[in-house]
Every structure is written in C-alpha cells, then in structure tokens.
Amino acid sequence: MTDTVRAGRGKFFDLARPSRQHLLGYILIAPAVLMVAAIIVWPLILAIDLSFQQVKIPRLGGASRPFSLNNYTWLFSSEEFWLACWVTFKLVVVVTAGSVAVGLSTALLANNRFKGRTVARLGIALPWAVPEIIAVVIFAWMFDTSFGLFGWLAIQLGFSDQMIPWVSSSTAAFWAVAITMVWKGFPFVSIMCLAGLQSIPSDYYAAAKVDGASVFQRFRWITMPLLMPVLGVTLVLTLLWVFRDFSIIKVLTGGGPLRSTQTLSIMTYDQAFQYHNFGRAAAVGVLTLVICIIASLLMLGRRSKSIY
C-alpha cells in the first residue's frame, strides 16, 4: 500500500473536516436511531398492519390475513369503545387538572424561602420517585373496602357510617383511580414548574411591586405568562401519561366495576389478552395513538400563542 493511497483514504475518512462534520453526527446518532426503529417504529408498523387484519392471536412470522376494515367498523359501532373514550377523556381532564393544580401550588410554595424548604422539596418529589406499581399496591391497601385506611378514616371522621366500597362502586372507583394518579403525577408538574419559576427574573416582580401590583396581579401577569412554555409542555406530557397509563388502573380496579374505569389502554389489553382479539386490540391502539397526536398538536399550538 503506497503512502499516496493511505493519505487519500485518510482524507476521505477525515470526519473533522468542516464539510464532513455532519457525517460524524449521523454516525453517532445511528445506533440510537436504529434502536428506536427496532423497538418503537417496527412494532408500530406491525400494530398498524395487524389492525387491518381479522386475527385472534397472531404469530411472529406467520402468514398475514387479508386486508380488512372490520376491526375499525366494529370499533366505531361498539358501545364499549365510546365508553372507554368517555372514561379516558374524564380521567385525562380530572387527573391533568388535579396534577397541575397540586403541582403548581406546591411549586409556588417550594419556590419561597422558608425553614425546611429542602425537606419540603424532597417530600414533593417523593411520589415521583416511588415505583408506580409499589405506589398502586399501597393505594390498593388504603382503598380496601373491608380494612382500608380511607374507609376507616371516613368512619372515624364521621363522613360515613360504614366502609366505603371504593372498588365496587362505579363513582368511588373512578375517584380512587383519579386520586392515585394525581398523587403519582403531581410531582412531575411541580418539579417542572419549580424550574420554570426559578428562571423568571426577580426584577420583574420588584418592578411590579413598585407599580403597586397585588400578589394575584403579579401571578396573573408575570408568573403565568412566563411559566406557560414550561406549563404547556408539562401539560402535554401529563396528558399523554394519563392516556397511556395502564398499571394504576389495572392493579386498582382492573377497569371495573361496570367498565367505569376502563380507559382505551385497558380496553386494548382486554381485547388482546382477555378476548384474544389482537386485530381489534391493535385497532384500539392505533386510534389511541391518533387521538394522542391530535391532542398533543392542539396543546402545543395553544401553548405557542400563550406566551409573550
């Protein structure tokens, strides 16, 4: 091998050259892209393909069934699907609103200077750090109809003269799920908001004070607008979390009673693993994805208009 050839090859692979720097970027990102494609995009394509086939249990590498719209036809005419949409919508609204209300309040609190602030911040973040399944099992014990803490408290405080059937009453079950999800979800909102609050220059508040702005006015006209970029993204992420969350509902109520807590994700699971209708399950999954994309776009669009 001559020196000329070596020099030529070295030049070709010289990724430090400004004209080839983008190649280095592509090379570095390639493993991540391939990984994402393998574990997200490929299964997504499979799911979309499956949703157009009438298939009970698919088998990897098995022959495809003929193209069919039957899963979607069934879905749109199914009472169960629309009920699941309604339950999901209710849960998204209640849990997102609850998480934002508690999360923003605690962030505002933790943003002030007071004794024990570090401990308070740790306390706020704690539910987020607890693994979801452990948190849900603890809540399941607390919501237990026969011996649970919440039922006992209700009796001791005089709110009820008997234990509350948290899991066998449609209304109570919905609120049991919502309370657990808010508890698990508010720390994320709180942490994000706290980061957002700390990025607001204190000069703005000082100037507003000089102008005689009240606490509420400062919150309304300084804090909220400047927090909106953070809050908008947080809102979208929380909304998507509620949409896709499965374990809290599955462990706490299993979607019941009377499907009062059956969201689209629980319905997807039931169709696939309970009824062995993987085609229908894939159709529910694909529609959930579409709804999530539309909701995210709407939320992000709204956020962009909300900032100064």
Partner: protein, 423 residues
C-alpha cells in the same frame, strides 16, 4: 520475530476460544422449559419438583428449567410466548384457557402418543375436557371437588351446627359475622368470596350457589340456559350473600384464604388447595373440613399438561416422557400424599393418605360427586369465548348488586348477551 510469535500466540488463543465457544452448546445439557404458576405452591409445587428430579434422574443430560409465572398474568405470558414462537416445551395451562391454543393448532395431538404407549385413559377424571375437535390435546392434571372448611371454634361460640343446606349456611354466616371491637368495621366474617381475581374466578365463586339452585350456564348440547327460574334463584342467592355483608368484598383469593386461615372467617368454600394455606394459618387447629352444604359440589377440571406442536421430534419425545411420568400410579399417589390433591387417575392408590391429610376422604367424595354430575366451571359450547362470557356475567351481576336490579331481569339480559357472544 518476537512480534510474529506474539501474533501466532494471539491467533492460537483466539482460535481456541472460538473452538471452545463453538463446542459449548453441543456439550451442554438439553434444556426443556417448563413454566407454571404452581412452582412454589405448598404441596403441589413440591410434587412438581419431585417429578422433575425423577425425570432428570431417568434422562441424564436433560434438564428441566422450571420457572414461575404469576397466575394473574399467566395466560398473558403464555399467549405472548406462543405468539412469539417461543413456547415452553412443557406446556402447563388452566383447563379453561388451553382451548384457544388448541384451536390455533399450537398443541400436539396426543392420541398417537397414548396409542404408542398403550395408555388407556378410561376413567381418567376430566379427560374429556382435553378433547378438542375430536383430538386429545392435553392430559388432565387435576380434577377437583369443592369442600367446605369451617372454623369450629367460631361456630361453637355462636352455637351453630355445621350447615347442611344453603339456608343453614346463610344463617350460620350471618351469626358469625361480627364487629368485635365496636368500631363500626366488621372484623370477623361468616364466609368469604373472592371478587377481585378476574371474571373467571368471580364466576367460580358464584357457581357454588347457582349449581345448588339447580341452574347452569349451558346444557350438555351447548345451548344457553340462563333465563330459567333456577338461575334466577341462584342469582338471588349470590346477591343476598354479597349484599348482606357476610363476606368481605373486593378481595383476592389469597387474601380471603389468609383471612380464613388466620381465624377471621367462619366458613370457606374452596378447592383442595385451601389446605396449603390453612396449614400455615394461626387458626390451623380450629379448622375442620367437611362436605359443602351446597350440592352438588362445585368442581371440575383445573389444569392440564400439553406440548407444542412445532418443537423438534426429539424434544416431543422428552416432553411426552415427562407427561407420562406424572401419569404413573406412583406419581398419581404422591400427587395426593404430597399435594393433598385428588389424582385424576383411576389407578392411583390413595389408601392411607388420610393419615397425613385427614380430610382427604372428603376431597375424594366431593370430586366423585362433582364428576358424576358432570360439573365443570367451563360451560360446554362457550369454551372459546369463556373470557368474554365470564366478563359479561360478572358485569351483569355487579350491575345487579350495585343498582339493586331484579335477578329475573338480569337473567334475561345475560341470556341475550350470552347468545350474542356465542353467535
């Protein structure tokens, strides 16, 4: 020169490593995967381990990898494994879930294997359930009858005799349900039913009362028979039990069994597996087993062994050897002595089992009673739709209890929905 030697040494070392790693799999044991929810069940788990040990002794170089999957997610696990073309070689399934796998053609027909070894399955309890589209696709591992276990101390304290009928059972349960410390929360229940373990388990609990009322979901030809006066009576009984507060609600099976075993429940209707829990409970010495007051006793097929249809022939032979081993009279006997289970084989010698498991004759009696009446949890004609059917029944029953609906109207709704599911 030195560099050349180094290179040669490096090359030789690499070649050795490559050769050894290539030889590795050939030298390794043959491993059969066996997934079960019973790996650590008291008694039954030990029986499986003893069968595996014996099999491995008889087949040097063959190992069985015995792995646990939780019962609550067992069907999901098996569905995923079969769908991914990675089924375990030894397939262990509940008798109400193998049908979907058999219907997909994923289970090996066992008739040729039985014929080859001249095994006669006549009289094997519950074996008929293993026939799918005219072929034997599994071997029934367990066929059971429900028994009633009661806490003698509690019944005596309440001055109640052991109940023999539904009415007596209800009266005894009401008399033993108590708020012992007066805090407004019931601490001691008359009986207990699992209502949190999913639709299949919910139906099993209900069936005790429904069968006693003379009703069932389908007839022997698979016709839906829900809208009947007997079913209305059965549903009324279940509603009464669940609304009268004599049973804790929203509890899993293990929690209910634990409550009973620890002396917080007076009576429990359950299968042979309750024994494992009561033996570990604090009220062990107060617990007595008897024939259930609801007749015929609920019972039926429990779990099956099968093999996948698309594994290599040499593995099929090994799996069949394992299944065959569990069917031998010796292992059928130890199924009773170790696990306290009723063996399905008519050739099993169960004499003397009552010395270690005093209530064993009751187990045998209820198993035979259930078998003679052809009782099973999975209704004929609805095997493929059992999950959907059981969920529908559970939901309509919950609606009846929550909204205080008339059982007669509920039976009509169930009939119509069941016919729609069956198609």
């Amino acid at each position: 020169m030195n560099k050349r030697v180094k290179n040669l040494a490096l090359g030789a070392a690499t070649a050795t490593v490559m050769m050894m790693s290539g030889l590795g799999p050939a030298m390794a044991d043959t491993v059969l995967k066996f997934i079960s929810w019973q790996t650590d069940d008291a008694g039954t788990g030990e029986w499986w381990h003893s069968a595996i040990a014996e099999f491995e002794k008889q087949h040097p170089g063959v190992k069985i990898e015995f792995t646990k999957a939780e019962r609550s997610s067992y069907a999901d696990t098996m569905t995923t494994l079969f769908a991914a073309n990675q089924p375990p070689q030894i397939v262990h399934l509940a008798s109400f879930e193998f049908q979907m796998f058999a219907d997909s053609g994923w289970l090996e027909p066992l008739d040729p294997w039985l014929k080859k070894d001249g095994i006669d399955m006549t009289g094997w309890a519950g074996q008929k359930t293993c026939e799918w589209n005219g072929e034997t696709v599994c071997i029934m591992t367990n066929y059971f009858g429900f028994v009633m276990a009661y806490n003698k101390k509690m019944l005596d304290a309440a001055g109640i005799a052991v109940p023999k009928t539904y009415d007596e059972f209800l009266a005894a349960a009401k008399a033993t349900t108590k708020d012992l410390n007066g805090d407004g929360i019931v601490d001691q229940f008359g009986t207990g039913h699992e209502t949190k373990g999913g639709p299949g388990q919910y139906l099993t609990e209900m069936l005790n009362y429904i069968i006693d009322a003379g009703a069932y979901w389908t007839d022997k030809d698979g016709n839906i028979t829900i809208d009947t006066p007997q079913m209305v009576e059965g549903l009324t009984r279940w509603k009464t039990v669940m609304k009268s507060g004599i049973s804790p609600v929203d509890m899993s099976a293990s929690d209910v069994r634990k409550l009973f075993a620890d002396g917080k429940m007076a009576m429990r209707l359950d299968g042979p597996w309750l024994y494992g829990t009561t033996e570990k409970g604090t009220a062990k010495s107060d617990i007595v087993y008897a024939a259930p007051p609801l007749t015929p006793p609920l019972g039926g097929s429990s779990n099956v062994l099968a093999m996948p249809s698309d594994i290599p022939d040499d593995q099929k032979q090994l799996v069949w050897d394992f299944i065959k081993l569990t069917m031998t009279p010796e292992f059928q006997r130890s199924y009773a002595t170790m696990g306290g289970n009723t063996p399905p084989s008519p050739k099993a010698d169960v004499s003397g089992v009552e010395k270690t498991i005093p209530h064993f004759p009751v187990l045998l009696q209820t198993m035979k009673a259930a078998s003679e009446k052809g009782i099973d949890r999975v209704p004929i004609g609805l095997e493929l739709y059992y999950n959907e059917f059981s969920k529908m029944i559970m939901e309509e029953t919950q609606r009846m209890i929550i909204q205080d609906l008339d059982p007669a109207e509920v039976a009509k709704t169930m009939q119509s929905k069941a016919e729609s599911i069956k198609g």
